[in-house]
């Protein structure tokens, strides 16, 4: 039986002034896209650096593709494609030369490098810029080139740190499609703070919060577990007394105001309800009692963002 792709146990990492990882356990097995979420400072990049052998952990064990990680993990490095958050290259090289250099480092033959270079340039949309110097590339093009070099050698594991952070909406779409495709043939472990992207791509989600893994679950199961009906109530008028009553209402679990920029006169309140039947009747009545104009009222499915905020929120409450 093949060992887990990532096997992290009781991982602790301490910098001189702060403990970033406080006993992380993580097991990733099989192909697919694994979303890795956390607020800024949660320890995502530190974990990715440890998985790459760039940082030696303070405590715990970390195995990648069955081997202990460390600075000299030569064999396993051939099987990992890594994309840092802000990939940087020698400005004097052309995109094609960067990939040739990468192919040489991976020990590919000239023929393999040539074939794969053409392929990854096409897949990342860089074919027309391949002979231009990287020094003249935009941030988005560098991110695409970073992804292209990670694809070379057809690795078994992709460690992607915010892979679409520098891309425009079109580029973002293309790269996300590519990542979905990669997940069918390999394991993609992808950190992101864009929850919509992770929701679209990831079969599994890991949430890191304050140095600990607080959620590790299939995306669908996670949403189902946290599935509570949500109603969007769009109103106009002074909502202060309505909001007060909402807090005291029995059927309502929690609510928050959702930013709406398209219609500033309207206010959207996203309400998590405990009893859907009661809420469907009670909420419009409550709006009417407070003399507000109801513009829209309807239920909506919880997004990963809702789940993430609730999970992080409940952790904050617990601590």
């Amino acid at each position: 039986m093949a060992p887990p792709v990532l096997d992290v146990r009781s991982l602790v990492h301490r910098f001189p002034d702060v403990e970033v990882l406080k006993g992380v356990d993580l097991c990733v097995e099989g192909h697919g896209v694994y979303g890795f979420l956390g607020v800024n400072g949660a320890g995502k990049t530190t974990l990715l650096r440890i998985l790459n052998g760039f940082l030696i952990q303070t405590g715990g064990t970390v195995k990648v593709l069955g081997e202990d990680v460390g600075p000299e993990m030569m064999h396993v490095r051939r099987r990992i494609g890594y994309l840092p958050q802000s990939p940087a290259f020698h400005g004097w090289m052309t995109g094609e030369e960067v990939l040739r250099f990468t192919g040489d480092l991976l020990g590919l033959t000239r023929v393999e490098t040539r074939q794969q270079t053409g392929d990854v340039l096409a897949r990342t949309g860089l074919a027309s810029a391949a002979r231009r110097r990287v020094g003249g590339y935009s941030g988005g093009m560098r991110q695409r080139l970073g992804l292209a070099q990670a694809l070379l050698g057809r690795p078994d594991l992709y460690l992607l740190d915010e892979p679409v952070s520098a891309l425009d909406p079109v580029g973002r779409q293309e790269v996300l499609d590519l990542v979905t495709d990669l997940g069918r043939q390999a394991t993609v472990f992808m950190s992101s703070h864009v929850l919509g992207d992770v929701e679209r791509l990831a079969d599994h989600v890991t949430i890191l919060h304050e140095g600990r893994v607080i959620v590790r679950e299939a995306t669908r199961a996670l949403r189902a577990r946290f599935l509570r009906p949500i109603y969007d109530v769009v109103v106009s008028g002074d909502t202060s007394s309505f909001e007060k009553d909402l807090n005291e209402s029995n059927g309502v679990g929690s609510w928050r105001v959702v930013e709406t920029h398209d219609a500033p006169a309207l206010k959207t309140l996203r309400v998590h309800v405990n009893d859907e039947g009661r809420a469907r009747v009670a909420l419009p009545g409550l709006v009417a009692v407070h003399g507000l104009a109801l513009h829209r009222f309807g239920s909506t499915a919880p997004s990963l963002e809702e789940v993430f905020l609730r999970v992080i929120g409940s952790q904050g409450d617990a601590s």
Partner: protein
């Protein structure tokens, strides 16, 4: 050593593309050609200065300048080249780290030792080529101006000077790796240069240390017998190896 050949090819390409190789070779050539010219031309120029403009200094040219004067001038000029070595090596690792190029290279199957070695061997190769260019320029021009060249002494002189450059390159690149700072690497390289000059002023002590390379070179130029050559060469080679081993150890444990 995993990836060394690939990294060396990339270094060679970088030295060529960024024109650092061309600039270095031109500077070496200027040192080679300029030294016999200065040896021949400076006394001649001084002789043309009217007596009343010499500020009371009496110029006594007891003999015509010769091949050994050209060698002495060559030694003086060459002693400025460690500055070039420090400037061209100080950012070699610290700069790649600052620009965040390092993680992408080291995420591939490349040992950190191979990476460090490629960063030292590249400037050393350039210095070898530069020393050869300077030596050839100097030999040809000295022969043309003075009609002779003392080849064995001249070859030994260049060997000593080259070894001196290797030492400075190793120290600077090692500091670039360990201190994570281009400025820190420059300070170490320049500090080593300054220290070698200070120790060179104490020849009886310097002969047992790498600073003795300069003393030996000066002895060669004036035709004095060479003493304690083995000590000096052995201590230099030992220091180069020790500095490399230290930097290798630090880099292997360093956070990237």
């Amino acid at each position: 050593m995993s990836g060394l050949g690939v990294l060396l090819r990339k270094e060679a390409l970088e030295w060529i593309r960024t024109r650092r190789l061309l600039v270095s070779l031109v500077l070496f050539l200027l040192v080679g050609l300029g030294s016999p010219l200065a040896a021949k031309g400076i006394p001649a120029m001084l002789a043309y200065i009217p007596h009343d403009q010499m500020g009371g200094v009496e110029l006594l040219l007891t003999r015509e300048p010769g091949m050994r004067d050209a060698m002495a001038q060559y030694l003086k000029n060459f002693n400025m080249l460690p500055l070039l070595v420090v400037l061209s090596s100080m950012g070699t690792i610290a700069g790649e780290r600052a620009r965040e190029i390092l993680p992408l290279v080291l995420s591939k199957p490349v040992s950190r030792r191979a990476y460090l070695l490629s960063k030292i061997l590249a400037p050393v190769a350039v210095q070898a080529a530069g020393t050869l260019v300077a030596a050839l320029g100097m030999a040809v021009y000295t022969t043309a101006l003075f009609g002779e060249i003392w080849l064995p002494g001249y070859a030994a002189l260049n060997g000593l000077l080259f070894l001196n450059l290797v030492l400075f390159a190793t120290c600077t690149v090692a500091a670039s790796a360990c201190l994570k700072s281009t400025g820190g690497a420059a300070a170490v390289g320049l500090g080593a240069w300054f220290l070698s000059m200070v120790l060179g002023g104490l020849p009886s002590f310097a002969r047992y240390t790498p600073a003795g390379l300069g003393v030996l070179a000066a002895d060669l130029v004036v035709g004095r017998p060479l003493e304690h050559v083995g000590w000096c060469l052995a201590s230099t080679v030992l220091l180069v190896v020790a500095v490399f081993a230290w930097a290798d150890r630090v880099l292997r444990r360093q956070e990237i």
